[in-house]
């Protein structure tokens, strides 16, 4: 009897997760229907976002999300792979422990703090070097890159560490240098895992709100240069959700949220199911 109740409690809780995810999609979709009906595909292809004219095109925000994430990935990937190589192959055990834990702890620092630091310390530097406002796509990409770096390095290192020692030792026994071992043994072996980890980090970056809200500028325009202020989906949501005054405005914001959810869902699903599943099967 109690056994049955307990079983049903656990099962209901487990099914609740599926229910919540489905519910999120349904709710976001329902609330964005007004915008979808009003604009159709123009919603994602037009870049005019003018609340006073009741015109909402999300292209600038989508572009900003993709561009800032792309910039962050370009900057963060080489450094993260460097850190991962350092952590898994170069560092001595003692440094490895200390360094590894501090990287993981840094990944736990709330992103709002990276954003604050970016606004007060990094934006002025960009302003001094390049002129202009300092706030814009470049600053957002760099702050995002720094924020995502610890997570990316930690997961990439984990992927590299799955290479069996015996494979590495065999390569060393043949006279390989460390770099030979890295490029001919570890990277081929852990390739799927490394790519999966990088894409997972991308999934995080694309939905990141607080690290970029401070430094992006929230201007609904496709930036003419990398230094121009622009916006992204999460930045728009964070800035405008409490200001929306008409139902079409709200509906458009929900449309943005739905677009973001679908984008990140696809990215994360590709990382998890295509690349990281391969790793699990390989083991």
């Amino acid at each position: 009897m109690i056994d049955k109740i307990f079983f049903n409690m656990t099962r209901t809780s487990a099914l609740l997760i599926l229910f919540i995810v489905a519910w999120i999609f349904v709710v976001l979709f329902n609330h964005s229907t007004e915008a979808i009906n009003a604009f159709g595909f123009d919603f994602i292809t037009q870049d005019e976002w003018a609340p006073n004219l009741e015109k909402f095109g999300a292209y600038a925000a989508i572009f900003g999300s993709v561009a800032s994430t792309f910039l962050a990935m370009i900057l963060a990937i080489p450094v993260a792979i460097g850190v991962a190589i350092f952590l898994s192959e170069i560092a001595h055990d003692k440094i490895k422990g200390f360094f590894g834990v501090s990287v993981e702890l840094l990944a736990a620092i709330p992103s709002v703090i990276y954003g604050m630091w970016g606004l007060f310390y990094f934006v002025p530097i960009i302003r001094d070097i390049f002129g202009g406002l300092g706030i814009g796509l470049l600053s957002a990409g760099i702050v995002l890159a720094i924020m995502i770096l610890p997570f990316m390095a930690a997961v990439t290192r984990d992927a590299m560490n799955t290479t069996p020692d015996i494979l590495k030792e065999s390569a060393y026994a043949l006279g390989g240098t460390q770099w030979d071992v890295i490029k001919d043994v570890i990277i081929p072996y852990a390739k799927a895992g490394i790519i999966g980890s990088l894409i997972l980090a991308l999934g995080r970056a694309i939905g990141e709100t607080m690290a970029v809200t401070f430094v992006m500028g929230n201007v609904h325009k496709v930036p003419g240069s990398i230094l121009d202020p622009t916006t992204s989906i999460p930045v728009t949501l964070a800035n405008e959700f409490t200001e929306a005054d008409t139902s079409l405005y709200f509906s458009s914001l929900f449309g943005l949220a739905l677009t973001l959810l679908i984008m990140s869902f696809v990215v994360i699903a590709v990382a998890k199911f295509y690349f990281l599943r391969k790793v699990r099967k390989g083991q």
């Binding site: 109690i2 056994d3 079983f7 656990t10 099962r11 809780s13 487990a14 609740l16 997760i17 599926l18 919540i20 995810v21 519910w23 999120i24 709710v27 976001l28 080489p78 450094v79 792979i81 460097g82 850190v83 350092f86 170069i90 360094f99 834990v101 702890l105 736990a108 620092i109 709330p110 992103s111 709002v112 703090i113 604050m116 606004l119 310390y121 720094i146 770096l149 610890p150 390095a153 240098t177 460390q178 770099w179 030979d180 995080r204 694309i206 939905g207 607080m210 401070f214 959700f241 409490t242 914001l253 929900f254 949220a257 973001l260 959810l261 990140s264 869902f265 699903a269 998890k272 199911f273």
Partner: protein, 280 residues
């Protein structure tokens, strides 16, 4: 130059580059930590814990409202996320095991874990704030709770699976029903791991800002009314830091420092518990 020499040189170059990137990464991250500690420490004083928010320019201005609000929000989120997460994780590890349903739930919750938290905020806005007609602590707590469930679920699932099957069989052999086996044997064996998962889950939602922006919103005054907008450290930090007033910015740094220490502390304690549990 022989090919061996060439390989040795390339090796040196690459390894130096890799070490260099580690140094660059560390430099940036310690720069941020350094700023946080310096700015935070210099802004810390007793007033912060005694006074609630005040208009800019007042000396008697503090963060009491945000600290208490943050604690209430996180406690409520924990009350929502932890039981549901643990029960769901129990189902996956003890009942669902390798069934298709269990794998689907694991996959979906993995995706949820990385899903943009601001979207959860929008969702909760639609289902809680809109029907209620105003922002509330409930909405904020529900948003954080939803974010917490998949984290707790996955760690519970992993930790319960580490409990050896023979322990379960021994308990079954004594005639214990399944729920008793789970409660008295499996949970007990995985205690340290589950606790670590809970602490890390709390640390994770404690630093969330985006889902609170339009659920619990913010308030510059002390309140314990769950039906009203509730201040939180993170949103206060965001509002104060983006304000043009220097004293508010100072308070923002103090909030950032307190919050980071809390989150780092939880992470460290969580790791120590897991480590101590493993050694045993």
């Amino acid at each position: 130059m022989t090919s061996t020499q060439k390989r040795v040189i390339i090796n040196k170059i690459i390894l130096s580059l890799s070490t260099l990137s580690a140094i660059i990464a560390l430099a940036f991250l310690f720069w941020i930590l350094g700023v946080l500690v310096m700015k935070g420490m210099s802004a810390l004083n007793w007033n912060i814990f005694i006074y609630e928010g005040a208009p800019p320019g007042y000396a008697e201005s503090g963060l009491k409202h945000a600290l208490v609000g943050q604690a209430i929000l996180v406690a409520m989120a924990t009350a929502i996320g932890v039981p549901l997460g643990i029960l769901a994780g129990t189902y996956l590890s003890e009942y669902g095991k390798n069934s298709k349903l269990a794998h689907t739930i694991r996959d979906i919750s993995d995706i949820m874990m990385s899903a943009p938290s601001i979207v959860i905020g929008a969702f909760v806005y639609a289902i809680v704030v809109m029907p209620m007609g105003h922002f509330s602590a409930w909405a904020g707590a529900i948003a954080l709770g939803i974010i917490m469930i998949p984290i707790i679920l996955r760690t519970t699932d992993d930790m319960l699976q580490l409990v050896p099957g023979t322990l379960r069989e021994a308990a079954f052999a004594l005639g214990a029903p399944k729920y008793k086996v789970i409660m008295d044997v499996v949970y007990r064996g995985a205690k340290a791991g589950i606790l670590t998962g809970v602490l890390l889950g709390i640390a994770r939602v404690g630093g969330e800002t985006a889902p609170l922006l339009f659920t619990s919103f913010n308030d510059n005054f002390f309140t314990t009314d769950l039906n009203e907008a509730m201040p939180s450290l993170t949103v206060t930090m965001f509002n104060y830091a983006t304000s043009p007033y220097e004293d508010w910015q100072q308070l923002g740094w103090a909030a950032a420092f307190i919050l980071s220490m809390f989150i780092l502390g939880l992470n460290i304690v969580g790791r120590l518990i897991l480590f101590a549990g493993k050694r045993k």
